[in-house]
């Protein structure tokens, strides 16, 4: 069971700032356990951020993004009370979608 994505979206002067923390180990596939065994890759591969129906940011990750991916970005538009959602898929096929109201 995956953990909720933490999202903060605040609008000021017509620009919405979004701060995201996706809960995920983001195992690169390069690290080794103390036993010497290689830890298998386990990371988010795709994500998208939607304002209502419109995608404002999307992307793809490899193993080179830190655990619990953190993103900060801004887009024009957005109004208090409107929905902003974050969805992701990982390399094991787990999917997750969370949303907040813009504040």
């Amino acid at each position: 069971m995956s953990e909720a994505t933490r999202i903060r979206a605040t609008v000021k002067d017509g620009i919405t700032e979004v701060v995201i923390r996706m809960a995920h180990p983001m195992e690169s596939g390069q690290r080794r356990a103390p036993s010497g065994e290689r830890l298998p890759a386990h990371h988010i591969t795709d994500f998208a951020v939607h304002h209502g129906e419109r995608q404002v940011l999307g992307g793809r990750f490899g193993g080179g993004i830190s655990a619990n991916p953190h993103l900060v970005f801004r887009f024009r538009g957005g109004a208090a009370g409107e929905e902003l959602s974050v969805s992701w898929t990982d390399n094991r096929g787990v999917m997750r979608r969370d949303s907040v109201k813009i504040g």
Binding site: L57, R60, G62, G63, S66, V72, F73, F75, R76
Partner: protein, 155 residues
């Protein structure tokens, strides 16, 4: 069937393989597209990564601002900020020259999204960090060295 298909997928690193598999009916077009999207992330040289992203030999640009620490104590979490002053920025890719897999992430920007981003990357060792920006006019590149005290991939 499943293992047979995986073997084929592993064997075929080159982009051209996907269309062959689609023609052979092994993969649906959608599956091929999804798999092809991952090929830049398998790249183990910068040249391979640029080629897989369609960037060829990108021009160095001073219109891409990178915020990175000169010295990162923990390679597992290196903060990076990118601001592109290039008009029509559509996409940004973050690459780490000395990571085993060079490409860390690709971001697609909607027209109303400001061409700037902050995130955190893993760095195996001291290395240049590169940001590739795609605009309607082509690909542009900026790079900055970061010294890493404790590596973040193998550590």
């Amino acid at each position: 069937m499943a293992t047979g298909r995986r073997t084929i997928l592993k064997a075929g690193g080159a982009l051209g393989v996907w269309s062959v598999l689609v023609a052979a009916g092994v993969l649906s077009a959608g599956e091929a597209r999804a798999a092809a999207d991952r090929t830049p992330f398998q790249a183990t040289t910068l040249e391979e990564a640029f080629a897989a992203l369609g960037a060829g030999r990108p021009d160095a640009s001073s219109y891409i601002e990178l915020s990175l620490p000169d010295i990162a104590e923990n390679g597992a979490m290196v903060p990076i900020g990118v601001v592109s002053r290039l008009p029509g920025t559509e996409q940004m890719a973050i690459l780490v020259q000395k990571n085993p897999n060079k490409l860390a992430a690709v971001f697609d920007f909607a027209p109303d999204t400001l061409p700037e981003l902050q995130t955190r990357i893993r760095m195996a060792e001291s290395s240049d960090v590169l940001v590739l920006v795609k605009t309607a006019a082509g690909f542009h590149l900026a790079r900055r060295p970061v010294r890493v005290t404790i590596g973040g991939c193998a550590a």
